[in-house]
Amino acid sequence: MHYQTESWNSYLPTKPPTTDSLQLILRLAAENAVVIFSKSTCCMCHSIKRLFSGMGVNATVYELDEDPREKEMEKALIRLLGSSSAVPVVFIGGKLVGAMDRVMASHINGTLVPLLKEAGAIWL
C-alpha cells in the first residue's frame, strides 16, 4: 500500500512544476562539468554512472530520492524531457544531453567524447 500511495501522489492534481524548480535543475546542472540526475534505486541510472566512470569522468550525481526537493525536481525533469521517467538525465557543460538513449547514441556516433573534452571532464 505504501508504494501505491507514493505513485498516486504524483498523479493527483498538485502544483505544476514552477519555473523555480526548472531554474533549480538548470542551476545545479551548470555548477559542474558533468551532472547526472539519478535515483539510488534506479538501475538504468546505475548504468549511466558506470558508463561515465568507465570513461574516467568524475560526474556530479544528484540522487533525487535522497533530496528533500525530490518531487519538484522530478516534475521539472519530466517536463524538460517530455518523457514519463525523470531519471537518469545528463547535463554536460551546463547543457542538456538527455536520457540514456541520447547518451548512448552520442557515444556511438562519436559526439560524446568531444563534448566531454570541451567541458573539461576528460583530457587526452
Partner: protein
C-alpha cells in the same frame, strides 16, 4: 397429403438461409460444438418437415388440395409462419457468425502450432528423445503478443534468407552503387524491423524475449541481452570490410571500444537489477506466508527489464547506423552480407547440433 406438402415446403424455408449442408453444420455447432455433418442434417431438416406438415394438417378446414391449403390459411397463421422464418433466419445468421469465428480461432491455433513445431525442430531436444513440444513450448503460446511475435519472427528469418541471397547476387554482379544502395537500405531496415518487433514483444513478455527460446540455441548462447553483442559484431565484420584506410580502421576501432563501454555499462546496470530484485523478494520475514508487499514491490523492479532490452536493441541499431556512415555502399553491402551469413551459419550449427547422433540413452 403429407407427401405433397413436404414437397412444397423446403424451397420456401431454404430461401432464407444458405443451402442445406451448411445449415446443418451451424445447427450442430450450436448444439454440440463440433462439426460433424451428414446425419444430423437430415434429422434437422426432417423434423422441420414434420413441423410443417403438422401445421398444415391442423388448422385447415378447406379442401385437401395443396394449392387451396396455401391460399386459405388464416392470416394469423401466415404471420406466425413469417415470424418463425425471421427468427430462424436470425438464428441461422448467428450460428454462421459463430462458426466463422471458430474457424478463425482454429486457423490461428494452427499457425501457432506450426510455429512451435518449427521452433522445436530448430532447437532440437534438450531433454533427449523426441520433439516433445509440451516441454519445449514456452508459455508464449498462451500469450497472443508472443504468439504474434513467434509467427512474425518466422517470417522475418525467411525474408532475411531471401535478402541475403539477393545481396550476394547484387554484390557479385555488375550493378552500380545506387542500385546496390537499395539492397543495402533494405537490409538495414530489415534489422530495424526486427528491433521494432522485439520492442512490442518485450511489452507483452520481456522474460520470454530474454530467455531466447525464439532463437536457435547457438544464437542464444552467443547473445547478450536478447541479441547480438555490437562489439562482437564489429570483430566479425572487420576482415570483410577490407581494404580500409588507416583513418577508417581507426574510426571502426574507436567504435568498437565505445560499444564495449556501452555494453559494460548496461551489463552492470542489469546486474544491479538482479541484486535489487533478489533483495526485494527476500525482504522481510521469509516463512510467514504473507508476501504480497514483497511481490508487489518486485513487480515495479521487473518493469526495468523492458528498458534494458530496449536500450540493448537501441545500441545495436545505433551501431549498425554508425558502421554504415563510415563506409562506402559497397563496403556496407559486404558487411551486411557477412553479418547475414554469420547468423545463417549459427542457425545451421544449431540444427546440426540438434540432429547429432546421441550416445546410448
Amino acid at each position: 397429403m403429407n407427401s405433397t406438402s413436404t414437397q412444397f415446403v423446403p424451397s420456401r424455408r431454404m430461401g432464407l438461409c444458405e443451402p442445406m449442408p451448411q445449415v446443418g453444420m451451424w445447427n450442430d455447432y450450436k448444439e454440440n460444438n463440433c462439426m460433424h455433418t451428414s446425419q444430423p442434417v437430415i434429422l434437422e431438416v426432417d423434423s422441420r418437415f414434420d413441423n410443417q406438415s403438422e401445421d398444415t394438417s391442423h388448422g385447415t378446414v378447406g379442401p385437401s388440395n395443396k394449392y387451396d391449403q396455401e391460399e386459405n390459411k388464416p392470416v394469423d397463421k401466415v404471420m406466425r409462419r413469417l415470424a418463425q422464418n425471421r427468427e430462424a433466419a436470425r438464428k441461422c445468421r448467428l450460428r454462421k457468425k459463430a462458426y466463422v469465428q471458430q474457424l478463425e480461432n482454429s486457423k490461428l491455433r494452427l499457425m501457432q502450432l506450426e510455429q512451435e513445431l518449427e521452433r522445436a525442430r530448430h532447437q532440437g531436444s534438450y531433454i533427449g528423445g523426441g520433439l516433445d513440444t509440451g516441454q519445449l513450448g514456452y508459455s508464449g503460446t498462451t500469450n497472443p503478443g508472443i504468439a504474434t511475435f513467434e509467427m512474425e519472427y518466422g517470417h522475418w528469418v525467411e525474408e532475411q534468407n531471401k535478402k541475403i541471397a539477393d545481396l550476394r547476387n547484387a554484390l557479385y554482379s555488375d550493378i552500380g552503387d545506387v542500385e546496390l544502395g537499395i539492397f543495402v537500405d533494405g537490409g538495414m531496415r530489415h534489422y530495424f524491423d526486427l528491433f521494432a518487433m522485439k520492442a512490442t514483444a518485450a511489452r507483452a513478455d520481456v522474460f520470454y524475449l530474454m530467455s531466447g527460446t525464439w532463437k536457435t540455441s547457438a544464437e542464444h548462447f552467443l547473445s547478450w541481452i536478447g541479441g547480438f553483442r555490437p562489439s562482437e559484431l564489429l570483430k566479425v565484420l572487420m576482415p570483410h570490410l577490407e581494404p580500409l584506410t588507416e583513418q577508417r580502421r581507426l574510426e571502426l576501432s574507436n567504435l568498437r571500444q565505445s560499444c564495449q563501454q556501452a555494453e559494460d555499462a548496461l551489463s552492470q546496470g542489469l546486474e544491479k537489477l538482479h541484486q535489487i530484485l533478489s533483495e526485494t523478494v527476500a525482504d522481510g520475514q521469509l516463512g510467514e506466508g504473507n508476501y504480497l508487499p514483497q511481490i508487489s514491490a518486485a513487480m515495479e523492479k521487473l518493469e526495468a527489464m523492458v528498458r534494458f532490452v530496449g536500450q540493448a536493441d537501441h545500441l545495436r541499431q545505433e551501431t549498425l547506423l554508425q558502421i554504415s556512415r563510415n563506409l562506402t555502399t559497397r563496403q556496407t553491402a559486404r558487411g551486411l552480407l557477412a553479418l547475414g551469413e554469420y547468423f545463417q551459419r549459427l542457425r545451421a550449427l544449431s540444427s546440426l547440433w540438434a540432429s547429432r547422433p546421441r550416445g546410448s540413452a
